[in-house]
Amino acid sequence: MLKLTILALSALLFMGCSMTKEVKPWEKGNLAKPIMQFEGLHPLVAKFDAHVYFSKEAARGGNGVAGGGCGCN
C-alpha cells in the first residue's frame, strides 16, 4: 500500500516535468510569421548587428537557424 502511494505520488510529481502541450504542425501559423524569423523583419539590421558583434568580439557566426515553421521537410 505504501509503495503504491509513493508510486502514485511520484507519478504525479513527474507529470509536471512533461511538456504540457506539444505544438502540432497545424498550430505553427504564428511561428511561420515573418516577425518570427531569427534575425527579425529586416535583414539589414541583422547585418549591422552582426558587424557590431564582429567588431566587439572579434568573432562571427553561430547566429542563424535553418528551416521555416510549417514542419515541412
Partner: protein, 147 residues
C-alpha cells in the same frame, strides 16, 4: 483502486494516434468528408501561412482540372476568412473544407505540412508529408499504381 488511479495517471498524457496507411477513417469524419465508394480521393491539408502549401496547391489544382483524381482540400487556418481569402487568391477549383474545429486535422494528425492522403473506401492507402517538387506528377503516378 490505487492501481487504476496509477494507470490513469500514466496514460493521461497519451494523445490520439495519427491515422496511418491501411487504417480506416472514423465514422464521424467519413460523414464530414462524404466520399463516394470505390473512388480514389486525395485529401490535401494546407494552411495559408505554409509557403510550401502555396507552391504545391497550384499543381494540385492542375491535377483536379485534368480530372486525374478527386481532390478534397482541407484548410486548417485558425480563421475561416483567412482560408477563404487564400483559396480565392490561388483560384482553387476543387472543394475545400474549412476545418475550424480541427476535428479533421486532429484525427489525421499529419506530421508536417502540406499533407497528402490517398483514400479509397474510407481507407488510407498512402501518405505524403512535406513539400514535394512536381506533386502533380507524383499524384498522377501514384493514382496509376493504386488503380
Amino acid at each position: 483502486m490505487f492501481k487504476k488511479t496509477l494507470s490513469a495517471l500514466l496514460f493521461s498524457s497519451l494523445t490520439l494516434m495519427a491515422l496511418e496507411t491501411g487504417e480506416t477513417i472514423p465514422k464521424d469524419i467519413q460523414t464530414q468528408l462524404n466520399m463516394e465508394e470505390d473512388k480514389v480521393y486525395v485529401l490535401n491539408f494546407f494552411a495559408s501561412w505554409c509557403k510550401a502549401c502555396k507552391k504545391e496547391l497550384a499543381l494540385v489544382n492542375k491535377v483536379h482540372n485534368e480530372k486525374i483524381t478527386n481532390i478534397i482540400g482541407i484548410n486548417v487556418d485558425k480563421k475561416k476568412e483567412e482560408g477563404e481569402a487564400f483559396v480565392q487568391e490561388l483560384e482553387l477549383q476543387f472543394p475545400v473544407i474549412y476545418d475550424e474545429e480541427k476535428a479533421l486535422v486532429e484525427t489525421f494528425s499529419p506530421i508536417g505540412f502540406p499533407a497528402v492522403y490517398y483514400v479509397k473506401n474510407n481507407k488510407v492507402l498512402h501518405t505524403i508529408f512535406g513539400a514535394v517538387d512536381n506533386i502533380d506528377e507524383q499524384i498522377a503516378s501514384d493514382i496509376k499504381e493504386i488503380k
